[in-house]
Amino acid sequence: MRAPALEVAGLSKEFHVRKPSGWGRRALRAVDDVSFAIPPGRTLGLVGESGCGKSTLGRMIVGLIPPTGGKIRLGGETVRANRSAAERRGIQMVFQDPYASLDPRMTIHDVVAEPLRINGLYSAGKVDRLLTQVGLSPEAGQRRPAQFSGGQRQRVAIARALALDPQVLILDEAVSALDVSIQAQIVNLLRRLQRDLGLSYLFISHDLSVVRHISHEVAVMYLGRIVESGPREAVLGAPGHPYTQALLSAVPSVHRRDRSRRIVLEGDLPNPLDRPSACVFRGRCFKAAPRCANETPALAALDGHHRAACHFAEPTPRERLATLAPADRPQEKTASKEDHT
């Protein structure tokens, strides 16, 4: 078997935050012992809510912030803390907001040419080819970002990321800011580029439907940890972790309009500075038991590649998720649970 295009092992990141008193600092574990591998030409979808550490993870992989611990391997080779030019070229990133990630004073041609010029690889023909590859005309290179819509700007950002022939693209919410009709164009473009160029993607998103569409494997993050991972049919079709189950049941769908089939989680994401001991999800979990407070659940295999970090993991087909919800849940939408608090 060929080495994975990208592999991370035990990757962690701690930030040090000043205490409210102003004296001393506390550690905030944004990413906690994350491991995964992406084979060449495949996509790993990374889902999770805001603050779960998914963007921090992406930024560490691309080298924007140094990890506190763990290893990153590119094509089987461990990437050193001080990356070589080839290592930096190998992993590129596309950001969420195409309005903020392009310099408004540069022409599109210069935006795409910049990484080539820095690496001494510039030729006008190469830039034109890159623009054509993402569905823009070479003439568009003479214009500036302001003259482009969000979807076209995201095409430019993709062309720039492709300029140095990377093996791995980190796509951090790359289609989230776009309207649905445009989002579909960019998703189709990304899939075509993957087919043509054999790229590996780490597709970071909070949108489960898009993740399901574009990914081969899916990992779900909660408070810095991967709580479930595996082939997308398993993770999104029959999730085993209560968090994935709640997340999936909460996605509004045009096709499944029965709101009572939702698992509504109590409470908010805990403050990452006060992470619960042992299982980080137990405070909001409908399956929580005393054991969850004492014993950290390991990411254990459920079935082949499908793994979940829960003592009570139980793969349940998506259609039957509602049967898992606690029985005292209000059935009528008018009588919300807040009434009797």
Binding site: V180, A184, L236, A246, E338
Partner: protein, 337 residues
Amino acid sequence: MSEALLSVRDLVVEFDGPRGPVRVVDGVSFDVGAGEVLGIVGESGSGKSVSLLAVMGLLPAGARIAGGEIRFDGQRIDNAPEATLRALRGGAVSMIFQDPMTSLNPVLRIGTQIGEAIRLHAPRTPKPEVRERVEALLASVGVPDPASRARQFPHEFSGGMRQRAMIAMAIANGPRLLIADEPTTALDVTIQAQVMDVLEGVCARNHASMILVTHDLGLVAETADRIAVMYSGRVAETGPTDALFARPSHPYTRGLLDSLPTLDADHDELRSIPGQPPDMAARPPGCAFHPRCALGQGRPACSRERPDLRTVGTGHAAACHYAEEAAGDAPPREAAQ
């Protein structure tokens, strides 16, 4: 339907542009009945938010209502004096915005801000009574421990809690119509589920109507009784939620539904709508959607005549010359580049 609570007819809103006025809303009509939830869906720049700002009398400088009329409970409000509108806003009609962090004042306590909403409409309310009502309101939107939470500042609230505080403020004076503009867009799905439950519960308990503006088709599908789909400043299609999703009769609605990936099916390629939404200052002649439309290709009517909303079913209307064809099996569309 009996008398609608809110009735908007042929609304036109113009903004000043560098080359003369730009029609951002171009002849929009819709009704909201008592106790009804109307969903307004559209992509950015379709004019959905501007239409509702016009209803609230909150259009920014440089924008004006250039035609049509807006009636609330039978009364014209589009040309009403500022004092009338001020009494209406936050009273009988109130609005919830997308980003609670920018609509809350960061240096005032949550309780003070909700109390302000109460005292604005009933200035002589004694302080202890205001405090009591604030706590009851916070409790009713599911904020735990309302007495101490009322003394906190917005930055001490999480996103979901802030949006609950905004809802509490919006319902302080028992509104009959709530306008929620992307109320959950900034929130995570699990929190979105909680907030939507609160919003619906609040409307049901107060017998209030709601206009839910969003770009999320799944969310309106779950929540709204009726839906209006907007494109380029006009209503492209409107109808009861079930009918609209079962038989989308405008090629744009169909395209939107087709371009959504779902959790249920595998698609090799998403059927995207080709091209970009038009520039408001240079709308295509005829039907504004025709350059991107699969049905319109080359048909003269589409580029010549602007289609008006036509009835295609009970309470269901679409602004397309070929609505019947759109509702049937759409011809295979070339996959977007």
